[in-house]
Symmetry: C2
C-alpha cells in the first residue's frame, strides 16, 4: 500500500491545459508572479523566487509555455506556466529592465543598464551566446540600453540612451551577431517599439521633442526624425515617470504615442510621418495602448494622476470615458481579440478585468502590488 | 506488483507541452488529421474518424487546445490536440464547409450548404443553441451559406450565395441572436473575410465582377460595392476552382484578392476603396496570403496550374519567385511571426516547410492527401 501511495504521489501531474489563454501578473514587491487564465478569469498559481521585480517585463517562448522574466536586479528567470515553477534562473547583469525573443524563438535577448549592453541567450538552456557592450564615443563608455525589440529576419533592435544611437543586430548566427550602428539619432532615446508588421522601429526621445524612425526594410536609408519639436511653444512639465512605448500603440496607419511632459497623446501618421493630431488626456501618459480592433486607445498616467484610465475613441480623437480601477494603475493588457482588458492597481493589491464594450467590471483578482500583465498571445506577435 | 503496474499504466499521461506552436493538417481522403508542431517542425499524432474531410476547415478554442473541424459531411468534430483524440462529434448538417468561433470563444458557428443556414453551438459541450436558416425571397428558399467569420462585439457575419445577401448576427445572447440582413449586395457572394482589425467584412462576388463591403463599425451605412466591374473589357476564363478569401489577404492598407476567371491578383486600397493595381500571376488564384509582415504575398492556383506557388513582392507588385512544393498545392499557412510557411501538396502526399526569406526547403513531412493547414495562433486572431 505504501508503495502504491508513493507511485500515485509520483505520478500526480498537472492537468493538461492549453497555453493560449494564459498570462502572467508581476507582483513587484514580493519577487513573485501569478499565472492567470483569461477564459475563466482566474489565477492558477503563484511562483516565488524571481528576485527584484520592482521593474520587470517578460517575453514568451513560441509555444506559450515558458515566460522569460527580466528583473531589475539583472535576473533572467525562465518560468514554466504549466508547472507553476522556475525552470532556470541566471543573474546576467547588475541592472536590467527588459528583453525580447527572436522571431524563430531560439534566442532571448536582455537589455541592460549596468553594465550597458545586450546579452543573448539560448532560449532552451539560458546559455549565454553573445555579449554586446553598448560602447560609444571615444572613451568607450557604455550606455544604458533601452527599447530592445525583435524584428523579422531574426534581428534585434535597440537604442543607447546616453549615446543617442540605434543598433540593429542580425542574430542568424548568434555567436557572431552582425551589428549595424546608427549614430546621432537624437537626444536620449528612452524606449522603442517595432510596429506590428515588423517594418518600423520608433524610438522616443527624452532629451528633445521628437522620435527617431528606422525603416527596417531599408535600413540603408538611415534614421529619420519624426514629430520633431512637437512641444515647441508650450511649457514642459516635470516628468515624474518615463512613459513606455511597448504595447499596442499602433492602430491602422496611426501610432499613438505619449508626449513627454505634457498631458497629451500624439497621433503619428505612419504613411506621411506627420503629426495627425494630439489628444488632450487627464495626466502625463505612461502607457498608450490600442484595443486590438483599433477603435479605442486606453491610457494610464504618471503620479499624481495614476489612479484613473482614460479611454480615447480613435475616430473622435478624444477621451470618451474614464475608469478608476484603483490606486496606482501600473499596466493594462487586452485579451488578444479585445473583448476584455486586465488592469493592475498596485496600491489596492488587485487586478481588475473590464469588458471593453460595456466597461463593466467583470472580475477583481487579488494580487500583491501588481505591476505588469502579459498574455501568452504575445508569443505570436512581432515586437512584443 | 500487478497493482503497481496497473496504477502506473493508469497514470501514464501525455507529456506537458504548450499549445502555441501546434497546428493541424487535414488529410482529406482518409477522414483524419495530423497534429503538428512548428518549433521542431514535426508531426505529433494522427487522429482518425473525422468523416468526410474532402472539404474541411477548422477554428481553435481560445486556449489553443481544441480544434473544431467542420467537414463536408456536415460533421463538427471537437479534437483535443494534447491528447490526440476526438472529444466530441456531431453531424449537424448535410453538407458544410466551414465555420467560426465567437470573439470570447464561447460559441462555435457552422456555415451550411444543406440545409442552408448557420448553426451555433456551445464551444464546451457542442450543444446546439441556435439554428438560423438562410431563408430568402418570397418562397422561403434556403441559400448556401458562405464566408462565415467572427467579428468584434460577439458577432458573426456571413453571406447567402443564391440570395446575394449579407447577414450580421449578434450572439451576446446566442439563444436569441439578433440578425441584421443586408439584401441585394451583389450576385452570388462566394466567400468573405473580416479584416484583421475586425472592422470590414468583404464578400467576393462570383456572379459579377466586384466585391461587397460592409463597415462593421457603421453597419447602418449599408453595403458598398468595391472593385466594381474589375474584369470589364477582358474575357473571362472558365473557373475550375472557387477561390478562397480566408487567410492573410490583408497587409497594411491593401487587401490582395483573387480575380475570378483571370490570372490576376487584385489590390484593393482599403482607405479609398479603389483598385490600387493588379498583379499578373501564373494561374487562377485560389489562396492569396500575405506573409505576416506584409512584405510578400504568396499565391496558389487552380488546375492546371496547381503545382506551383508564386511569390509577389508587395512593394514591387510583381511575382519575384516561383516555388514547386509538389503536385496539387491546396493550402499554405505561415507561422505567426512569418519565418516559415507550410504548404500542402496533396498528390505528393507531403507538406513542405519553407524558410520565407531564403526559400530553402526546411523539412518535408509525410501526410496522406493533405489539404488545409491551420496553426493555433489563429485562436488569437479575429476573422480566423
Amino acid at each position: 500500500m505504501a508503495a502504491i501511495a508513493l507511485v500515485l504521489a509520483g505520478c500526480a501531474s498537472e492537468p493538461l491545459r492549453g497555453t493560449g489563454d494564459l498570462g502572467v501578473v508581476i507582483e513587484r514587491a514580493s519577487g513573485s508572479v501569478q499565472v492567470v487564465e483569461t477564459t475563466g478569469q482566474k489565477a492558477i498559481s503563484r511562483i516565488e523566487g524571481l528576485g527584484d521585480l520592482s521593474h520587470a517585463s517578460l517575453v514568451y517562448s513560441r509555444d506559450g509555455r515558458y515566460a522569460y522574466v527580466f528583473g531589475r536586479d539583472g535576473g533572467l528567470t525562465k518560468v514554466d506556466l504549466l508547472k507553476g515553477s522556475i525552470v532556470n534562473r541566471v543573474i546576467q547583469a547588475g541592472n536590467s529592465i527588459g528583453g525580447a525573443i527572436s522571431q524563430d524563438g531560439r534566442w532571448v535577448a536582455a537589455q541592460n543598464y549596468t553594465p550597458g549592453g545586450v546579452k543573448i541567450f539560448n532560449a532552451d538552456t539560458l546559455e549565454l551566446v553573445a555579449d554586446i557592450p553598448a560602447t560609444y564615443g571615444e572613451q568607450g563608455a557604455r550606455a544604458k540600453v533601452v527599447g530592445l525589440a525583435d524584428a523579422p529576419g531574426n534581428r534585434f533592435v535597440w537604442s543607447l540612451f546616453e549615446a543617442g544611437e540605434i543598433w540593429v543586430a542580425d542574430v542568424t548566427d548568434p555567436r557572431t551577431p552582425k551589428v549595424d550602428k546608427f549614430r546621432n539619432i537624437g537626444r536620449e532615446p528612452y524606449d522603442g517599439l517595432v510596429t506590428p508588421n515588423g517594418r518600423y522601429y520608433l524610438a522616443g526621445l527624452f532629451g528633445e521633442d521628437g522620435l527617431a524612425m528606422l525603416d527596417l526594410w531599408y535600413p540603408e536609408r538611415g534614421v529619420k526624425r519624426v514629430l520633431d519639436g512637437y512641444g515647441k511653444g508650450t511649457e514642459k512639465m516635470p516628468v515624474y515617470k518615463m512613459p513606455h512605448l511597448r504595447g499596442w500603440a499602433v492602430a491602422g496607419r496611426y501610432a499613438y504615442l505619449p508626449a513627454i511632459g505634457r498631458n497629451e497623446v500624439l497621433m503619428l501618421d505612419m504613411e506621411t510621418w506627420q503629426e495627425a493630431g494630439r489628444i488632450p488626456v487627464g495626466g502625463q501618459p505612461v502607457f498608450v495602448m490600442a484595443r486590438p480592433d483599433g477603435r479605442q486607445i486606453w491610457v494610464n498616467f504618471a503620479f499624481p494622476d495614476n489612479s484613473h484610465v482614460d479611454i480615447i475613441d480613435a475616430e473622435a480623437r478624444r477621451v470618451v470615458k474614464r475608469l478608476e480601477p484603483g490606486k496606482t494603475v501600473l499596466h493594462m493588457e487586452f485579451t488578444p481579440r479585445g473583448e476584455a482588458v486586465w488592469i493592475s492597481a498596485r496600491d489596492d493589491n488587485r487586478v481588475v478585468v473590464y469588458d471593453t464594450v460595456t466597461f463593466a467590471r467583470k472580475v477583481e483578482l487579488k494580487a500583491e502590488a501588481p505591476s505588469g500583465i502579459f498574455f501568452t498571445s504575445r508569443a505570436a506577435r512581432t515586437g512584443f
